[in-house]
């Protein structure tokens, strides 16, 4: 079901420093719903990697399970990818990174994948400061299993099945800050102007970089107040009780200035208020970042942008003091102590 894009390459397409066109960073055709925020993120990843002139095959893409976790198929088709099991991308990425410190690790996850089943692994990969970019494609619901609430769903929002969410959402940026993440940012899937530079910065960061990307699920994330044009159709679907009609939607895009607040209307008519910190906001204080998040929240705003960065962290390989050669590149020579040593070990057992 995964279609490979036609391999047509435009002769005048601009190339980057190492001679690749943006097309070289693309993946298979997406099978997500039309207008899904996750697709916008994939395209931001493509742009960021192109602009950074990364060799595509030096990236490893890892994910859990969910619509979001499917996306690594839809970018960087010359990279190896690993769509693992639900909620466990962090551990798989940790192992991969330990095996070969020389690649770039790009982990993609959903809010269900990270904040529900994966909360434990999320907390611990942060704590270990694994050198990776962790992209949370946060749509506040379970897309792939048809719209249940997740742990980041807003309080009192109503899902497709008409169930009201009675729980406070978990804000993973706060948790990441609390647990010692060395790069924490938030953005909006449709805000390429903000998202692409953040991804670039995160990839360049030598340590754990977390980006919480608000990414609207056009199909299931419907807030209650919504009174949009397709009421008739919606009622129709409700009556038939099969959630199998997904109207075609357009990608939601936005752009706004640092220091400003922007209201973004989602497909269902609900509105979120995104806020970019002032240009003089200095993301060098973990505690201040938590403060800023807290204040924005009190104003009903979602603070976006780079919230915190520790510019010189020590990553897991530093902590473990591993050799600079990738562990997967060591051979018998380097690894096997040989029979002579073994015989002396035998002596210790006599």
């Amino acid at each position: 079901m995964t279609y490979l894009r036609p391999n047509f390459r435009h002769p005048d397409a601009p190339t980057n420093r190492i001679g690749f066109t943006e097309k070289d960073y693309e993946g298979a055709l997406s099978t997500l719903c039309a207008g899904c925020g996750h697709d916008s993120i994939s395209s931001a990843i493509v742009s960021a990697c192109f602009e950074l002139s990364i060799e595509p095959h030096r990236v490893a893409k890892l994910s859990g399970i969910g619509c979001s976790s499917k996306t690594p198929t839809y970018f960087l088709s010359n990279s190896h990818g690993f769509n693992s099991v639900h909620g466990r991308m962090p551990s798989v990425t940790t192992g991969a990174n330990l095996a070969n410190r020389d690649l770039i690790y790009l982990g993609v996850s959903g809010d269900g994948d990270s904040a529900s089943i994966g909360l434990g692994q999320f907390g611990h990969v942060v704590r270990r400061n694994l050198n990776m970019l962790y992209v949370l494609e946060n749509n506040g619901c379970y897309g792939l299993t048809k719209g249940q609430t997740s742990a980041t769903t807003d309080l009192d929002s109503v899902n497709k099945a008409g169930v009201n969410n009675p729980f406070e959402p978990i804000d993973l940026t706060k948790l990441a800050l609390q647990l010692g993440a060395t790069f924490v940012a938030r953005s909006f899937s449709g805000d390429k102007e903000q998202l692409v530079p953040l991804i670039k910065a995160a990839i360049s960061h030598r340590g754990f970089a977390f980006i919480d990307v608000i990414s609207p699920c056009v199909t299931f994330n419907n807030n209650p107040g919504s009174k949009k044009s397709y009421d008739f159709v919606r009622e129709h679907c409700e009556a038939t009780a099969t959630i199998d009609f997904v109207p075609m939607q357009e990608e939601i895009t936005t752009a706004y200035e640092p220091g400003s607040t922007k209201e973004v209307t989602l497909h269902d008519g609900s509105v979120i208020r995104l806020q970019k910190p002032m240009t003089d906001y200095r993301p060098d204080n973990r505690h201040a970042a938590l403060e800023a998040l807290h204040r924005a929240e009190q104003r009903g705003e979602i603070l976006t942008g780079l919230l915190y960065i520790d510019e010189d962290p020590s990553d897991l390989h530093d902590t473990l003091n591993t050799v600079s050669t990738a562990l997967n590149a060591l051979d018998e020579e380097a690894l096997c102590p040989g029979n002579k040593v073994l015989q002396s070990i035998n002596r210790s057992f006599r």
């Binding site: 198929t73 769509n83 693992s84 940790t94 562990l327 096997c336 073994l342 006599r350």
Partner: protein
């Protein structure tokens, strides 16, 4: 004989006292947290250094301090290493368990106790010889630091045993010197404590007793080592660079051993940096996830766990099976289910490992019986995992892993190269293109079910693929096509079939003097010690059988051949549900009638007498049945 302590005057001397040379069981009953395990180990090691086969078993509680703990040492110049019921000499320094302890002594055996306080009269058996040594009083007098008082009590009784059993004192002092190399100031006090005990015994009792030891030359170049140590070392030699684990008894010491050796043998000389990474994960799901991630990325990686960890890892094992990612997993079994008896042994994770995960899955399982095999099989597990791109479980157990076992020394062929399996590098990928071929991650090019893989980062524009636990075609492209799914599952079976001849071969134990066997025995792991001994006993009683020690799942063709050669086969295993028997039936279509379960599942290592009595009972019953056939006129 005057072994009865003069202090507790009411006991009489002149009881029956057994005689035994180099065939005895000495058992220590202590309280845990008192440092007894290392003293008891000193005792066992001394016997070993006197050239005698020895088999110690630490039977400890699942807490840290204050509960009864036992240490059983079997000495056997015949070479029997299984646990044996009946204690010849009980060193009973724990009042909590004394009632039970005294019961275990064989008639005519000995009971050594701390006579600082008089012995409870209810503990006195007519047919047992009591040896009272005022251990506490001696320590009180000798040491001021309360910690030393406790610690040296154990060393003192070891000294006393030297006199009582005729252990060479120099062997003990030699062990002390070895042990405290680099901490020389500790040597003298330890030797002193030994002497205290020795002299007390020599002075108060007719030493040696009628049960005693004498130097032999029966251990050759063998070593005395625990399976977990061997497993950790095997992972070093096998080239593992990533170890991710979560602590759980009795597997904890596997990764601890790996780390210990790695810190010695895997430090880059120039930089002092580590050529390995050990990571204590937050739980077992994370540990196996890390192993799978590392192995996917071309490193040799492993984890070690016990039953509860296997349960938690099973979704991930299904992923690795289906996505074809190598992974090495050591399961040191304890008594289950659930938390079970974490400090007791069992072989009850066999089915859970062989078929781990929902959906149709089968995993390679290696079944070591000795520390030597722990070493060999662990190293080999990495080759098998790479070669078959699938999880490999090294299935050990608490008895094997945590107790010292006498076994052949480790050895390594320096010309041996790691078998990394079918991995294409950049050059080979270019070559493929040159030949006009397309790389297909799941293409069965060679017809053996094993496909070619590439490591991430290999080539700028060739060989990349997407790994997933969902269905995909031969080019690793997602598909929901049912026939593609089914073909792939069939290929996985074919791959498993290919593995049959690559796994360790079973080892056969012939019948006595090549007599035609009246029955067969199939067994695995630590049951081997009891079975070997039982076969001798049975042979003495005219019952001749041979045995096959299975070393791996899938079953090597020789297992099937063995079954075909026998009409009646006892399947000896240490679990309740006859799990090996189930595997034999389901994988080899073997008839249940032929396979007689012989089970032990109380958490204690299997004894020969258990094997003997069950086989004898069955054989006798069958013999009787044969002689008295159902009378002709009987109804159906």
């Amino acid at each position: 004989m005057s072994v009865v302590n003069a202090a507790s005057a009411s006991f009489q001397s002149g009881k029956k006292a057994n005689q035994a040379l180099n065939e005895l069981v000495v058992k220590f009953a202590n309280v845990n947290g008192t440092g007894s395990a290392s003293a008891n180990n000193l005792f066992a090691k001394a016997i070993f250094r006197m050239g005698l086969p020895v088999s110690p078993k630490n039977i400890f509680p699942s807490n840290i301090q204050g509960l009864p703990t036992w240490y059983e040492v079997r000495i056997s110049e015949k070479g029997y290493l299984a646990r044996r019921d009946g204690v010849d000499l009980m060193v009973a320094v724990n009042p909590q368990s004394m009632v039970k302890d005294v019961r275990e002594v064989v008639s005519g055996g000995y009971f050594l106790y701390d006579s600082t306080k008089p012995l409870d009269l209810r503990l006195v058996r007519d047919d047992v010889n009591y040896i009272g040594i005022p251990l506490t009083a001696m320590c009180l007098q000798e040491y001021t630091d309360p910690r030393q008082r406790q610690l040296f009590k154990n060393i003192i009784y070891v000294g006393a045993l030297a006199a009582l059993l005729d252990i060479e004192f120099e062997v003990l002092t030699g062990l002390i010197s070895d042990q405290f190399k680099g901490k020389e100031k500790l040597i003298a006090p330890n030797v002193h404590a030994l002497e205290l005990g020795y002299q007390y015994a020599a002075k108060h009792f007719d030493c040696p007793l009628a049960i005693k030891v004498e130097r032999r030359d029966l251990v050759g170049d063998k070593i005395l080592v625990g399976g977990n140590d061997a497993t950790g070392l095997g992972a070093i030699y096998g080239g593992a660079t990533v170890a991710a684990w979560y602590p759980i008894t009795p597997s904890t010491s596997v990764v601890e051993a790996y780390e210990k050796y790695a810190k010695r043998l895997r430090i880059d000389a120039g930089t002092g940096k580590q050529k390995f990474a050990v990571i204590q994960a937050e739980d077992e799901l994370s540990a196996i996830g890390m192993v799978i991630g590392a192995a996917w990325n071309g490193a040799r990686a492993f984890t070690a766990t016990s039953g509860p960890g296997i349960s938690l890892m099973s979704e991930f094992l299904g992923l690795a099976y289906f996505a074809e990612v190598p992974a090495v997993l050591v399961d040191v079994q304890r008594t289950g289910p659930s938390t079970g008896m974490p400090t007791r042994t069992q072989q009850s994770d066999l089915l859970a490992c062989a078929y781990a995960s929902h959906g149709d899955t089968k995993h390679i399982v290696l079944l070591p019986s000795t520390p030597k095999e722990c070493f060999d099989f662990t190293a080999q597990a990495f080759d098998l995992a790479d070669r078959f791109q699938t999880p490999v479980v090294v299935l050990s157990d608490l008895d094997l892993g945590m107790n010292d076992h006498l076994c052949d020394p480790f050895d390594w062929d320096d010309s041996r190269r790691y078998d990394r399996g079918k991995v294409l590098d950049a050059e080979q990928l270019d070559q493929l293109t040159a030949e006009g071929k397309r790389f297909g991650r799941y293409l069965d090019v060679d017809g053996d079910g094993v496909c070619y893989r590439t490591y991430p980062g290999t080539h700028p524009n060739k060989g990349s693929f997407f790994t997933r636990g969902t269905s995909r075609d031969e080019y690793a492209i997602y598909t929901e096509d049912g026939s593609v799914y089914a073909e792939n599952m069939d290929r996985l079976l074919k791959k498993f079939d290919t593995a049959k001849s690559a796994v360790p071969e079973p080892v056969s134990i012939p019948s006595h003097k090549g007599r035609k066997p009246q029955f067969g025995i199939i067994l695995f792991g630590t049951s081997v010690f009891a079975v070997e001994e039982a076969m001798d006993t049975l042979a003495d009683a005219g019952l001749h059988g041979d045995a096959l020690v299975v070393k791996a799942f899938p079953f090597h063709p020789e297992v099937e051949a063995y079954l075909a050669r026998h009409e009646q086969v006892f399947v000896v295993e240490q679990n309740r549900d006859a799990q090996m028997r189930t595997l034999l039936m389901s994988e080899l279509d073997e008839s249940p009638g032929k396979l007689i379960p012989l089970l032990n599942y109380d958490g204690m290592p299997l004894t020969a007498s258990k094997v003997v009595s069950e086989i004898r009972a069955t054989m006798t019953r069958d013999a009787v049945a044969e002689k008295e056939p159902v009378s002709a006129g009987a109804a159906e």
